[in-house]
């Protein structure tokens, strides 16, 4: 009896493993072009209040560009910098300004600054849905320097996340 129950437990465990492991898909919340447009509109609204002319890039979770917009009088570096800020926020799953402060030269994490494409400058903000990072917004060229760029990108990331949550709420209804 004792042995039978052991065998049964083992068999059940094996069945669970077989059922769960090879057949489950990798699944994650994506970022649509409509959500990226919501982000860019929020950044433009911020820029209008700010009186500035920023460049903005929205990346998906793979780090690929979903949307980019170059400011009217952008300097040549602005659009590439916006992408790198978004890349940094997406990769390290935090605002690029926080990552900048966390990786100061001489500290334990300084070597992270060697990551290609990442850049220790503020203006990149991850798009968070719950605890999940589904992409990032990078902004370059507002009036307020790195803090201003971060505020603009935050407005964009919030708008995109809100658009995702509206979709999720619709799906649950």
């Amino acid at each position: 009896m004792f042995r039978t129950s052991h065998i049964l437990t083992a068999a059940a465990a094996a069945a669970v493993l077989l059922a769960a492991t090879p057949q489950s898909f990798a699944q994650g919340q994506g970022l649509t072009s409509a959500q990226a447009m919501a982000a860019i509109r929020a950044v433009q609204a911020y820029a209008k209040k700010d009186g500035s002319d920023p460049s903005t890039v929205v990346l998906d979770r793979d780090g690929n560009i979903v949307l980019m917009l170059k400011g009217n009088n952008a300097s040549p570096h602005n659009i590439g910098l916006a992408e790198r800020k978004a890349f940094t926020a997406n990769m390290f799953k935090m605002k690029s300004i926080e990552w900048r402060d966390a990786t100061k030269p001489g500290t334990a994490r300084a070597n992270e600054r060697q990551t290609p494409k990442a850049i220790p400058l503020g203006g990149g903000v991850p798009i968070m849905v719950g605890n999940e990072v589904i992409g990032a917004v990078g902004v370059s060229g507002t009036r307020g320097g790195q803090e201003g760029d971060t505020a603009g990108a935050q407005a964009g990331a919030d708008a995109a996340a809100a658009a995702v949550q509206r979709l999720q709420a619709q799906a649950n209804n």
Binding site: S33, A36, L67, M68, L69, K70, N72
Partner: protein, 184 residues
């Protein structure tokens, strides 16, 4: 004595007048030859309007497209990758926009003009096929120039519509024409 003073005053006045004329002349020359270059370029607001109208046109048959708008330098002003489109497909939209901008015509027309067997009105071979080897150009329908006073100040490119190149170009054209009344 009186004459001497009058002469002195006249001389001083002449020097001042002369230097004033010289300075004004210099300024005129500067204005004429050293003024900085001013160009018209497609703005953020115009680019977004162009893109939105291209998307709206393609939505009529439920196509999900990627749209690129380039400025007068051929650089991206606006780029939106459609849902499910690869980065490469979105980049083809940019290349269509670039081609239309740099050759100031729809990419379908440019393709005809640069075809291997293209001939002019007199039946003479045009032989511009080499243009298709230029970097960033693409011989695909779907790019349309944004024209101001006869010169291209930008271009719009579309990929991914259900109707293929023909529809891509119809959507790009609809986008470009949505701001045409601003550019008269």
């Amino acid at each position: 004595m009186q004459k001497l003073i009058t002469g002195f005053v006249l001389a001083v006045a002449a020097i001042f007048a002369g230097s004033a004329v010289y300075a004004i002349g210099l300024q005129i020359a500067k204005d004429q030859f050293l003024q900085s270059l001013t160009n018209f370029d497609i703005s953020v607001e115009q680019a977004m309007l162009v893109a939105e109208n291209a998307i709206a046109e393609c939505k009529k048959d439920n196509s999900v497209i990627s749209v690129a708008v380039v400025d007068r330098d051929g650089l991206v002003r606006f780029l939106l990758r459609g849902d499910g489109a690869t980065p490469e497909l979105a980049d083809n939209a940019r290349r269509k926009a670039y081609t239309a901008r740099t050759f100031n015509q729809a990419t379908s027309l440019w393709m005809e003009r640069t075809a291997l067997d293209a001939v002019d009105a007199n039946g003479k071979a045009i032989d511009l096929n080499g243009q298709q080897y230029l970097e960033n150009t693409i011989a695909e329908k779907g790019g349309f120039p944004i024209v101001y006073h006869g010169g291209a100040i930008g271009g719009v490119g579309v990929t991914g519509s259900k109707g293929g190149g023909e529809r891509d170009e119809a959507c790009a054209k609809a986008g470009a024409q949505s701001i045409a009344d601003q550019l008269l």
